[in-house]
């Protein structure tokens, strides 16, 4: 089972194994290239010795032998190096959290907790809207009250005006003056009756 080292890839931007593979392939290529150069140099040197009995095939065999040996050691050493690098350098210890994931440490919210939080927010939004429209209704009533109070005050002023008019014309208090008039009328009636009787 391959460990994709995904968390390391999140940090490095590449998978450690691929990084190592790339280095390995490069090393291997260099080894092959250098060996080919060695072989071509030796063959060229041999051209300088026409009498010598060493054939290119022999040189090729030597090259292969040395290359094989070097390749084996390269593989062995490289897998050791890879093991160390993957464990100690290109790895993120289990207890380490990357900065971009800090939030998971601070707010380990479960699905239910988050839904509860979202419900709470919806509830607050609803409440706020209700309060806002209640506020509008209250302010509307305030406006209405101003108009009504103004009307009622106008009526009261009208009454005041009426009474002031009466007062200005000597009938301070209508009620009393009517009562006074009524009394006088009655008295007049009595006097009238009295006079009539006496005159009979």
């Amino acid at each position: 089972s391959v460990n994709p080292m995904a968390y390391e890839a999140q940090f490095f931007g590449f998978t450690p194994q691929t990084c190592m593979l790339r280095i390995y392939i490069a090393f291997q290529d260099y080894l092959f290239e250098v060996m080919l150069v060695v072989e071509s140099v030796i063959l060229k040197k041999l051209d300088g010795f026409p009498g010598c009995k060493i054939s290119p095939l022999q040189i090729r065999k030597s090259t292969e032998k040395f290359l094989l040996f070097m390749k084996e050691h390269l593989d062995k050493l490289f897998s050791k190096m890879e093991e160390v690098l993957l464990q100690l350098v290109l790895n993120i210890p289990k207890n380490v959290l990357l900065p971009e994931d800090k939030v998971h440490e601070q707010y380990p919210y479960s699905k239910e907790q988050l839904e509860a939080l979202q419900d709470e927010i919806h509830q607050l939004q609803k409440q706020y809207r209700a309060e806002a429209s209640a506020g509008q209704a209250l302010r509307a009533e305030l406006e209405e009250q101003k108009a009504v109070q103004a009307e009622l005050e106008k009526i009261l002023q009208w009454f005041d005006g009426l009474e002031n008019t009466c007062r200005e014309h000597g009938t301070g208090n209508f009620k009393e003056s009517f009562a006074f008039l009524t009394q006088n009328a009655k008295r007049l009636q009595d006097v009238l009756k009295d006079v009539e009787e006496k005159s009979k």
Binding site: V41, F66, V89, N95, H104
Partner: protein, 174 residues
């Protein structure tokens, strides 16, 4: 202090290189190219030396290239810091669950919490504001009731007058 990742990386690669060179010793090389070695020992030596220095140079160059490409020096140092910060933590840290919806959730939480406290604040302000307006509305209603009573009283007073008036007229009629 434990060597940092950059240091460790360099050491491990250098060790690798040392061992590789040690494995590919001159003896081994001369042994493989025995026929040529017998013919030209000095030349074999110089070819071997060039082989080794070329191989080392190529490998070092490759490592440097990988370091530059991945900006490894800086990246290793910043990883060292991150690991250092977590040194007091024992238990395994959070890891992506593989379900994006799950993992984005916690990222939302701090902002939802901020949003919630903002809503709580403005709701409180709005309630307080409405409480004040409600008070003035109630006061306004009382005021109106009072005015209506006053008007009623004035009206009744006038009505009483007109009753007196009617009586007077009756008297005169009589």
């Amino acid at each position: 202090a434990a060597p940092g990742r950059a240091q460790m990386f360099a050491t491990v690669v250098d060790t690798f290189l040392e061992k590789l060179v040690a494995a590919g010793s001159y003896q081994r090389f001369a042994n493989c190219y025995r026929c040529f070695y017998k013919l030209q020992p000095e030349m074999t030596r110089s070819i071997y030396d060039q082989f080794i220095s070329q191989l080392q140079a190529s490998i070092k160059e490759e490592i440097q290239e990988v370091k530059n490409e991945g900006n490894l020096e800086t990246v290793f140092n910043s990883l060292d810091k991150i690991v250092e910060e977590a040194k007091n933590r024992e238990e395994p840290a959070w890891r992506p669950s593989g379900i994006p919806e799950e993992d984005i959730r916690s990222a939302m939480v701090p902002y939802l919490l901020k949003h919630r406290s903002y809503l709580q604040k403005i709701l409180k302000e709005k309630e307080e504001e409405n409480r004040k307006v409600a008070e003035s509305v109630l006061a306004g209603r009382d005021r109106i009731a009072e005015l209506q009573q006053q008007i009623q009283a004035r009206k009744h007073a006038w009505q009483a007058i007109s009753k007196e008036q009617r009586e007077l007229v009756m008297t005169f009629k009589e």
